[in-house]
């Protein structure tokens, strides 16, 4: 069985293996043992509320209970920009018009902003190559929205994700080459690495503070602004299906888009319902296609757990769970669990009565 649970001490080796296999480009999880250990410590402190709510870093592990191994990770950073300064460019429009001449020019412009300061970020998604099927990526990503909604007071109204921008096979970023490198004399790969180990705000201090008029940049740089790396396109589509939108914020180095959503607008949040657990000993075929499965969360903050069950388990008031599922979720009969479809256009409606939307 595959289950989501808080990242733990014993996941370090598995995490290191995954980070090494992922290679460059995953700036939030570099293959650096000390750094990964620090992340695990922060995650533990966050789930156990031993740190300020704003400092929380909630990292979830996807555990394969048969292999007894962590095969994926995803995260929520409760607030960004409180320790360091968090920068983005905002792709904006400057209009200059002369009625006398009948000229009206729209100039796309990048403005440096700190607008995501104090906002919740979803981050650090990584899934082991061996498990990239059967909706595991969706589970890893969407479980976070159930957590966000159940514990809203710890998070901002709006959440965002930074998507990796365009770089070529050699790791060169067209935007960095045209813009960042003019102000800071290092290669993109190095800037990217420095970002990963937490030095991004230092570099940002050296970046231009006045607006950048895009017509002054070469076509190669202009066309990647707000575009994702090919490898990141599926993740972007998934977030878009959840209701995340590109609102003009991009990464200051590679121009990758920031996508945003208000928690109450997120599809998983909108389409989820609560049911009481009914433990059923009658055998059940758990192994149904992803299309027919729903996510079940135990709604626990300290020991948040999510797995998937066939949609057929759901009744108007209850959800029937086999004992082994109840055990990994750490729930008993009568507990209230939360359900949401795993896939877009998955089993719907699980709302039962007109008017009941939550």
């Amino acid at each position: 069985m595959l289950v989501i649970r808080p990242l733990q001490e014993r996941d370090l080796d598995d995490l290191m293996t995954m980070a090494e296999a992922a290679g460059k480009g995953l700036t939030t999880l570099p293959a650096d043992r000390e750094l990964l250990q620090r992340k695990i410590d922060m995650a533990q402190a966050s789930f156990n509320q031993r740190c300020e709510p704003e400092a929380g870093l909630f990292l979830f592990a996807l555990e394969d209970t048969e292999l007894n191994q962590c095969v994926g990770i995803s995260g929520i950073q409760a607030r960004v920009g409180l320790d360091e300064v968090f920068y983005n460019y905002r792709l904006s429009t400057t209009v200059n018009a002369s009625r006398e001449l009948g000229v009206h020019v729209q100039t796309p412009t990048l403005h440096l902003t700190n607008d995501m300061t104090d906002t919740t970020e979803i981050c650090s998604l990584l899934l082991s190559g061996s498990h990239r099927q059967g909706g595991n990526g969706l589970l890893l990503s969407r479980c976070r929205f159930m957590f966000l909604d159940d514990f809203r007071r710890h998070f901002s109204e709006k959440v965002f994700a930074e998507m990796r921008g365009v770089s070529d096979a050699q790791g060169q970023s067209p935007l960095w080459d045209a813009l960042g490198s003019r102000f800071f004399d290092i290669e993109f790969s190095e800037a990217d690495y420095l970002t990963g180990i937490g030095s991004k705000s230092f570099i940002a201090e050296l970046m231009p503070k006045y607006p950048i008029y895009l017509p002054l940049l070469p076509e190669s740089a202009r066309e990647v602004i707000g575009q994702v790396h090919d490898n990141t396109a599926p993740a972007l589509r998934m977030l878009q299906a959840e209701g995340f939108n590109f609102n003009g914020l991009v990464d200051i180095f590679d121009g990758g888009p920031v996508v945003e959503a208000f928690i109450h607008n997120i599809r998983t949040v909108r389409e989820s319902v609560n049911r009481h657990v009914l433990i059923r000993h009658k055998p059940l075929e758990l192994d149904v296609p992803a299309e027919e499965r729903v996510m079940v969360s135990n709604r626990s903050f300290r020991d948040f757990r999510v797995t998937t069950v066939p949609a057929t388990c759901i009744s108007p008031d209850t959800v029937s769970l086999p004992p082994e599922v109840a055990e990994v979720l750490e729930v008993e009969s009568g507990d209230l669990v939360r359900l949401a479809p795993l896939k877009d256009g998955g089993p719907l409606p699980i709302h039962t009565a007109p008017g009941q939307s939550r």
């Binding site: 018009a97 006398e100 001449l101 020019v105 003019r182 570099i203 006045y210 008029y213 002054l216």
Partner: protein, 338 residues
Amino acid sequence: MWRVRPVQQGDLKDLIKLAGDHGSQVSSTLPKTEEALAARIDESVASFAGQRSPDHYPRFLFVLEDLGRGQVQGVAGIDARAGNGQPFYNYRMDALIHASHELGVSRRVDVLYPSHALTDRTLLGAFAIAPKLRGTEAFELLSRARLLFIARHREWFSERMVVEIQGIQTEDGKVPFWDSLGRHFFNMDFDTADRYSGMLSKTFIAELMPPNPIYVTLLSPQAQEALAQPHPMTKAVMALLQQEGFHAGHYVDIFDGGPVLEARTDTLKTLVTSDRKRLRLAETDGGERCLLAASEGGDFRCILATVSESLNDVLRAPPEVVQELQCESGCDVTVAPL
């Protein structure tokens, strides 16, 4: 024989020829269409006559006249107040320091700021002369006669003066600074912008120029090279202005990136070395080669002459000089050494 005098309506034809002669190769702030030129002449005539309204600062045009052939071979202007009551835009070149304490890095970043700080200074401009006269005494006469006019009407002009020097343009008429910057915002080629600039109120510049500072490093290499560089054909003009005491400061033209020269009016060589004298009719031999200016406003005249000084602020000049100046013995003149 050369004489500099205020422009008149009758000069229009000669001016059109002059403006056309140079074409885009030596653009000057002189308008290029007949209509705009005629309007500019009207403006000058009214200015010399003191008929400008309080909203409209005087704009003077002087012509260089070949007395023998009765033909105008050059033109030069003064705007009493740059911008003529509206903002006068330039870029101010400045540098920012980008420093990171933690990384121990500090870097100088060159920036162009939109500026109208030069508004209301006195502006020399609209200079054009027949190519064969470049570098001659007539060339110097045309350029410096304006300064003698200022010396004789000092209170009409500002404390500080500016001149825009034409920037770099390639053989095929391209303006690298414009192509890298202005073109994107004005959505027109350099010649069109240049034409509008001579023709229309400058409001369109305020409306269309980029409102925020520009990082020099993002301009094309050609534009960066051209920044604050004068067009090679402006060498003679530049040299003369620098001798006068003009120097390149922090400002450049927003169209072609050419340098804007600045000076304090009262420290200009022509103003410092000029004297007010009384002209006395006398046969002289030898003496000093001078610029000689007489009369006020629309009657202003300036010529080249060889005169000799005597005591008591008297200047002795032969009859032909008095005649060229259209004045009489005993009249008040301003003289400056060549």
